[in-house]
Amino acid sequence: MDNIIEVKDVTFKYCNSEVEKTVIKNFNIAFKRGSFTVILGKNGSGKSTLAKLLNGLYKPDSGDVLVDGVNTKDETSEIDIKRKVGMVFQNPDNQLIASIVEEDVAFGPENLGLEPEIIRERVDTALKSVGMSKFSKSTPHHLSGGQKQRIAIAGILAMKPDCIVLDEPTAMLDPKGRAEIVKTVEKLNKEENMTVILITHFMEEAQNADRVVVMNEGSIVADGTPKDVFCDIDLLKSVNLDVPQTTELLHRLKNGGANIKTNVISIEEADEAIARALHLEEI
């Protein structure tokens, strides 16, 4: 099967005594095995709810979510589905439970009932994947935010998931921590062929993704390559999202009369485009 996760006609509502709010509406999306997808959207657009539907933390009110062909409503497969689709959340401090890094990473595989030697091997491999091997005996609360978040990712990797869903994993981190997480995630996708679904507010984190999906009011409003999506400035602004500073700069130079290409996100490409348009090498 090509798709690791398929979301079919899903609707999801939150209910309390007074109001009923539909947060996901007739939603359809499929994630290809080994792909790297970034999901963007303002607060309240339904991103986190979607994330929780993907591994059965929430069950759809109507429609189906299939993980590797198995419906998340099938209660007998619940553990298998949660193992296949791992989740990383925003706050690293809420996700670490043990007092030693390697014990924290071992928590998942221990709960799978694996043999000690296999657990050892998985913990070592997972810590190596996120570049934290030398901290295996450290105490989590002595680590930086970015390091703690990498331990949280290692804890998921030790379960050998097919897909990892990260819900704003960098929101609480400093620029260095953010860069560490993005690098780790990109590496897992490229080198270990892990399917990655990354939810974020930071446009720069999306530039190397295969696909960018923009959500608004519980529906998809854009779905394409990062360049296609980010160059639609009007659309991004209409759903209250930021335009990457590079793209905005080039658009405004073009509006100011410069003959310049605008479908650019990375700093290197922006630099090339400006240098060419303004003949800067020749000055």
């Binding site: 303002k42 607060n43 981190l173 500073q245 100011g256 630099d271 400006i274 303004l278 090498e281 000055i283």
Partner: protein, 289 residues
Amino acid sequence: MSEVISVKNLTYTYGGNTPFVNDAISDITFSIESGEIIGIIGHTGSGKSTLVQHLNGLIKATSGEVLYRGKNIWENPKKIKDIRFKIGLVFQYPEYQLFEETVFKDIAYGPSNMGLSGDELNKRVFEICSLLDIPNEYIEKSPFDLSGGEKRRVAIAGVMAMQPDVLVLDEPVAGLDPKGRADVIKMINAYRNTYNATVIIISHNMEDMALLADRLLVMNNGKAVCFDKTEKVFSNADTLKSIGLNVPIVTSVLLKLKEKNPNIRADIFTVDKAVEYLLGIKAEGDKNA
């Protein structure tokens, strides 16, 4: 201009007399003029939050002192509460501290602790709500029925309602979407302009700092490595990168261009200024062509 806050040789040591002794901040000295917006940047664990908690006496320094308008804030320890009304601190994720039944009561909590009541208290709350565009229909709602961004604004309004002379905000935009960030930044500007307040902001977002801050205090491992005008700080990209920070993206683009052509200026850190500057170069080029 007059000095509002002056920090002298401030040091705070965790775990003194234990093997884990560690200086969270050490020997920090700086002073802030009335009406300035000061940004504090630094990697996680660099001591930013510890530093600002000294400013209103939530933490007492191991050595060194904090002066508010020339007086040591601990001169009369019984009066430290008054200092906390003058120097208002908004914590990280302040929406977690909402607790009252209605938005009105939550915003009124701070001012009522200052001794305000009745009409005076109502006036305070409505004044801040109208300044910050918090709609009237929210006033009687439970704060827990609001969206994340709205909760954040109500929580910040609760501190602003005390009308502090110095407003200190620890990561006020963390975790918000672009619209939420813009709303909070607008609130901060409105507050400062209306009450001539001094503002101190901790943030990891260099682009927001570029738009807001007059001067930046850069922290690394508990030390203040630099305190200077925002443009000066951002023109030093290598130093910032070496301590886990960065410059705004638009500045990175100009720095790259500068590698190609040494005549390019890189002391520009907002998109507006960069567009103006680059179009200026284009106009020059067109004239000469």
